[in-house]
């Protein structure tokens, strides 16, 4: 049984090793090989994770006992690495493997003819492997290892077309920003280990619940872990890297920056939910940051003109939702409004269910973007338009995806969002209202994108023959479209321990109606402005001029971080000071001493007047001084 | 304990201590110095006579009986002479120099033992005191040379000092040889240690000492520096009068002192069979002095570089060797038995011959045959001169008969035979004869005859030209006067003069001429 778990994440890594060490250097002439290897390995992992899912469902309490291996023994401290197979892991496995497989198929078409073909699939399989490893890890250290590997793959894949400077800069930025988050995470791991002496997640949960870790200590640890999540899932303070990450190839964005990696943050919080929830301040920050990021990202999404950037902001916003979901339930638990056991499971269920659905339809949207740019050669929606006629399949799947993300009733998006909203209503009313506004905004920017890109006439410059993307791209889109509809209906939340909900019962709650109404309103507004042009976008922009500039400049966070913080304060400021200090003070002292001695030498040389009598005089004055000294001091 | 100390101790009882020491000291000093001066006067006289005798001539015999008062005469002469002080020199040092030169010579006598207890002060470092004091003379020479303000005296002063210094070292080393045997520095103990006179035990030491001493005194073999033929009169050129006499006196006192030292060190001082000790010493002193001026009258003068070379390359190494040998003997035969005498003599001879062999003089190697025997024969020759009758002719009283055909001055004119023919006047190349004649009854009568002998060449042409053999060259050779006019001889003088014609131009007269005593003809061989 444990071999299966290991195999799941080792297979893709093995494929990475095969591709990078054998195919890339020697069989570079036939790159397709790397695609086959990747598909094979991920397909196998998918099957195994499905089998694992079945096992977990059968297993009592949805947890499969797994042995662990001794990695490092130093004196009294010993570090064990093992695998944890519970419901949460199983669900995540499915998400990762499915989306990854679909992406690989899609990228065969997308990446066709790219010189770095093998390299691409090598990194993709490495990414999938490490993501699976992250999901399965049973202790914090092992999780952190894969956490970093995932960050590495995102760096490599964002900077895949390294000859483009923006891509290279985006890759570095992504890695550093996530690294800042990881700093907090690593500090938290060390802190916890110092306190409890173990990395094992299960034990830590138990100790946290029992209250063995001190109040403030736990809060700090929780915040540390959450900072890791914030970094990885591009939540509020550390969100700037995700929009830039769009420089990478679109399938990469689809897989990593939509479905899996960014979700890792949410998964982490979910995995350590009992611990984080047991400290009220920590879970409250999670909720607040989640809620705020949702609306914050949504606002920016509305004004973007780049196809993928809009989707990137929508991802940040949706992740905000998931964090919000986890956060509010956690708050409920922390406040004791919900029974501990039930509450914990419910929180996880709520967060992860939305993550589950979101993975599919967000990947679909990205595929749409991909095929659109594949056809038009650009990502700027102002130069697109009229793709509805040229690319019917893309349009159809994109429409389904948009509807789902907006949260229209039967589609997957609705179910997750509805649960989050209802929980938010119960435990954090303010955040609920924010969430409702975000629903409206999501609807607005999604359909703005839809109408601009697909509606109206083609505004592209050169007359490009708009043809539908090849089948190898369309098929995965269709598949995902189906999934984005169906995934809502699957009993995921019950499986994760959350409340079940009836298919039609959901419509009963006023909450649902409110959100549907807001969504409709959003769609209508977008339709009015962009499709029918009853209200000119220009006039809107002029009326809300100041607001518009703030948002369109992404609240200047980018400038703030890069120019102000990194360049001006750090590199040109403190580091320059240190550099100057190093060159002039420390080195200066060294050279100073050398110079000093030489100068002193030049001065003392003057004593040698060449006159014997001067020396004689000096001698005798010396003698007198000595005699005087001894006479005085006896 | 010397006589003086006994006297002082005796006096101590009566007078205050300082007086008891001072007065006898001064009295003793005066007695001693007067005695020394007397002896020096005697020395001067003896030397003048001695050298004369060595040169087969009489020496001074005019002043007083046998010339005894000659030194007194010199002294008076010198005292009377004007005392010139050079303007450019340094007046005070010029005045002080002779005193400093004289003082050491006198001071040496303080330690010369005239008898077992007849010694001024028997200080226990006697000989060292002597050497120290004698080295003082050098300063005097320097002062003299420097103060007289002229280059020649300065250069000669430097040369003298160089010579004195160079010869001082062999002097001291040879004395060291003696000290090793005697074992003590005090003069009295040295003499007492001389059961065998050290001249026999230390022949090489004696020889070196004697030669170095002559150099020290600037005596003949080494008297280059104030010899007449060299740089004027050495460092005391500018001295005259009293100061010069002091120098002169200093030289002889120093000679007396050196001979006294030689006597005490090598000839066992006052020791002698019958005569009183002081007399023995004086005899030995005179003997040494005689040898001194004996050497002076035979040996030729050394050139400056030879002088210095001889000191450093000759005497100094020999003195060292001698010291080394004596030291060795002192260790091997501590008692210095008399047999050593022979050994030392042999060694001395051997060393001298070998060492001199090392030198090259005038291009070829110094061989004993040429130089050693040369000196000995020379000395022997001069010694033999002692026994030859001095050939001095007391000039004004005795005259030497010149050769028969000698062309002297003061022509002999025969008035009767002169016929006033003026042939001689004509013949005279320098026409110094002027004859005025007047008719007389039987021919011409020479009225005036004046010959200016101031310009006469003594060629004898006038005599050859006289037809009547009235004119003869005379045998007299002295013509001196104070005034040029007196050289013109008139007729009356011719007539009055004592006729001593020579046989020049009249071979027949040659027979009756007295035998020549001016230059003794070489003795016929065989």
């Amino acid at each position: 049984m444990p071999e299966v778990a290991l195999a799941i994440f080792l297979l893709p890594i093995f494929s990475f090793v095969v591709i990078s060490l054998i195919i890339r250097p020697f069989l570079n002439k036939r790159p397709q090989l790397s695609w086959y290897v990747t598909i094979a390995s991920i397909g196998a992992s998918l099957i195994l994770s499905l089998w694992m899912l079945v096992e977990v469902i059968k297993a009592p309490g949805h947890v499969l006992p797994m042995p662990d291996y001794q990695w490092l023994v130093i004196g009294d401290t010993s570090i064990h690495l093992g695998v944890m197979a519970d419901s949460l892991a199983a669900v995540m496995l499915i998400v990762v493997t499915v989306v990854s497989l679909v992406v690989q198929i899609y990228s065969r078409g997308y990446m066709h003819g790219d010189p770095g073909y093998c390299r691409y699939f090598a990194f993709m399989s490495l990414f999938t492997g490490s993501m699976l490893g992250l999901v399965l890890a049973d202790n914090l250290l092992f999780l952190f290892v894969f956490w970093e590997l995932v960050g590495l793959c995102s760096y490599l894949l964002i900077g895949f077309w390294f000859h483009r400077p923006e891509a290279a800069r985006a890759a570095t930025k992504a890695f550093i920003v996530t690294r800042i988050g990881d700093f907090g995470f690593l500090a938290a791991i060390l802190f916890l280990y110092a306190k409890t002496g173990t990395f094992d997640i299960g034990e830590l949960q138990h100790l946290a619940l029992v209250g063995a870790i001190g109040g403030t200590a736990l809060t700090w640890a929780a915040i540390g872990i959450f900072s890791g999540a914030v970094g990885k899932s591009a939540q509020f303070p550390l969100h700037t890297w995700l929009p830039d990450a769009m420089e990478g190839p679109t399938p990469v964005s689809a897989l990593i920056h939509a479905a899996t990696m960014v979700a890792a943050g949410v998964f982490l919080v979910a995995r350590l939910f009992p611990m984080i929830a047991s400290s009220y301040e920590a879970i409250m920050t999670v909720a607040i940051i989640g809620g705020f990021t949702a609306i914050f990202a949504a606002t920016m999404g509305m004004v973007m003109n780049d196809f993928k950037r809009i989707l990137a902001y929508s991802t940040i916003s949706q992740l905000g939702y998931m964090m919000l979901g986890l956060g509010v339930v956690g708050v409920g638990v922390a406040r004791g409004a919900v029974a501990l056991e039930v509450g914990l499971a419910l929180g996880v269920a709520v967060g992860i269910f939305h993550l589950f659905n979101h993975a599919f339809f967000k990947a679909l949207l990205f595929f749409g973007a991909g095929s659109a740019s594949h056809a038009t050669g650009t990502f700027d929606i102002r130069e697109m338009g009229g793709l509805r006629k040229a690319m019917p399949w893309t349009f159809a799947t994109f429409l389904i995806g948009s509807l789902s993300i907006v949260g229209i009733w039967p589609l997957a998006g609705f179910w997750g969002k509805e649960q989050i909203l209802s929980q938010a209503w119960h435990y954090a009313p303010i955040l609920f209202y924010l969430a409702m506004i975000t629903v409206f905004m999501t609807a607005f920017y999604m359909f703005r994108l839809l109408f601009l890109a697909f509606g109206g006439e083609y505004r592209g410059g050169a007359h490009v023959s708009l043809r539908e993307s090849p089948a190898v791209m369309i098929v995965p889109m269709v598949l995902l479209a189906i999934l984005s509809v169906v995934s809502g209906w699957l009993p995921i939340s019950e499986f994760l321990g959350g409340e079940s909900h009836s298919f039609f019962g959901a419509l009963a709650s006023p909450m649902a109606w409110a959100s549907l109404l807001l969504a409709a309103l959003g769609i209508l507004l977008a339709y009015a402005i962009y499709s029918k042009k009853w209200i000119s976008a220009e006039s809107m922009r002029r009326r809300f001029a100041p607001l518009y500039t703030i948002v369109s400049r992404k609240y200047w966070f980018d400038e703030l971080y890069e120019n102000v913080f990194v360049v001006r304060i750090l590199v040109d400021g403190i580091f320059a000071l240190f550099h100057w200090f190093d060159d002039h003070i420390v080195d200066g002292m060294v050279n100073g001493i050398a110079g000093g001695t030489i100068a002193a030498g030049r001065e003392i040389r003057r004593l040698q007047t060449g006159q014997l009598q001067a020396y004689g005089l000096a001698i005798f004055i010396g003698i007198l001084a000595i005699i005087a000294f001894f006479m005085i001091f006896g | 304990m010397g006589v003086l100390e006994q006297f002082q101790h005796w006096l101590l009882g009566y007078w205050p201590s300082w007086a008891a020491y001072l007065v006898p000291a001064i009295v003793a000093f005066l007695v001693l110095s007067s005695f020394i001066l007397l002896v020096v006067m005697a020395f001067i006289y003896i030397e003048r006579r001695g050298v004369g005798r060595f040169q087969v001539r009489l020496g001074p015999n005019r002043a007083g009986p046998l010339g005894i008062l000659q030194p007194v005469a010199d002294a008076i002469k010198v005292l009377v002479k004007e005392d010139i002080i050079p303007s450019r020199g340094d007046r005070r040092i010029h005045w002080l120099a002779p005193i400093i030169a004289f003082m050491p010579a006198l001071a040496i006598f303080a330690v010369i033992p005239f008898g077992p207890r007849a010694i001024f002060t028997d200080i226990n470092i006697g000989i060292l005191y002597i050497i120290a004091i004698s080295s003082l003379g050098v300063i005097g020479v320097f002062m003299a040379g420097w103060a007289s303000g002229n280059k020649y005296s300065l250069v000669s002063a430097l040369r003298t000092v160089a010579q004195l210094i160079s010869y001082e070292i062999p002097l001291m080393l040879s004395i060291a040889g003696v000290l090793i045997i005697s074992g003590s520095l005090s003069m009295v103990s040295i003499v007492e240690a001389q059961s065998i006179p050290f001249i026999l035990l230390q022949p090489l030491g004696f020889l070196i000492f004697f030669v170095a001493a002559t150099a020290e005194l600037n005596r003949t073999p080494f008297d280059l520096l104030e010899a007449e033929s060299e740089i004027v009169a050495g460092y005391h050129t500018e001295y005259s009068g009293m100061k010069f006499s002091l120098f002169y006196l200093a030289e002889y006192t120093h000679a007396f002192a050196i001979s006294a030292i030689v006597a005490t060190l090598f000839l066992s001082g006052w020791k002698g069979p019958f005569l009183p000790p002081a007399l023995w010493l004086m005899i030995k002193v005179f003997l040494v002095f005689i040898v001194l001026f004996w050497a002076r009258s035979t040996l030729p003068r050394l050139r400056v570089d030879q002088l210095m070379g001889f000191a450093w390359k000759g005497l100094f190494p020999l003195a060292l060797l001698n010291l080394f040998i004596t030291a060795a003997e002192a260790i091997i035969w501590p008692g210095f038995p008399w047999q050593l005498l022979i050994l030392n003599l042999l060694i001395a001879a051997l060393l001298i011959v070998l060492w001199s062999g090392l030198f090259r003089v005038a291009g070829e190697r110094v061989s004993f045959h040429r130089y050693g025997r040369g000196i000995a024969k020379g000395m022997a020759l001069t010694f033999r001169h002692l026994f030859r009758r001095p050939i001095t002719v007391q000039y004004p009283e005795q005259r030497l008969t010149p050769a028969p055909r000698f062309r002297g001055n003061l022509l002999v004119w025969d008035e009767e035979r002169c016929n006033g023919c003026r042939a001689c006047a004509r013949a005279c190349p320098v026409s110094i004869i002027d004859i005025e004649t007047k008719k007389g009854d039987k021919g011409l009568i020479v009225e005036t005859l004046e010959i200016d002998f101031g310009r006469c060449l003594f060629c004898g042409l006038c005599v050859e030209a006289c037809p009547v053999a009235a004119l003869f060259m005379s045998r007299d050779y002295e013509q001196a006067s104070y005034f040029r006019e007196s050289l013109v001889v008139k007729k009356e003088q011719f007539i009055a003069a004592e006729k001593r014609p020579s046989a020049y131009a009249y071979p027949d007269l040659e027979a009756e001429m007295p035998p020549q005593t001016l230059l003794a003809p070489p003795k016929e061989k065989g």
């Binding site: 007047t609 060449g610 006159q611 014997l612 009598q613 005798f620 | -």
Partner: protein
């Protein structure tokens, strides 16, 4: 007044300081050497005084050695002075400053 050790020492000190002044003040190299000789003599006096008032002969032995050294020093000193004179035409110490910086 009886002559004690102090008298000799003070005499030697006086002599020494005169010599010292001369050595340091005079400009003619030969005079400097003369003054050094005076200083050495002063030391000799002190040595002999000590040996006389201390009944140990080592003072005198040292005096002898000082004399030896003094002699050697003068010899070499004057040789130097003359050598310098020959090459530099001067014995004025202030003008002999070849070792000047």
């Amino acid at each position: 007044m009886a002559v004690g050790l102090e008298h000799f020492l003070i005499l030697s000190a006086v002599l020494f300081s005169i010599g010292l002044y001369g050595a340091l003040a005079k400009r003619n190299a030969v005079v400097i050497l003369m003054c050094i000789e005076i200083m050495l003599n002063a030391v000799n006096i002190a040595m002999v005084a000590f040996s006389r008032y201390g009944h140990l002969l080592t003072g005198q032995v040292f005096a002898i050695f000082i004399m030896v050294v003094a002699a050697a020093e003068v010899v070499v000193g004057l040789a130097l002075v003359i050598a310098i004179y020959r090459s530099r035409e001067t014995v004025d110490v202030e003008r002999i400053d070849l070792m000047k910086w």
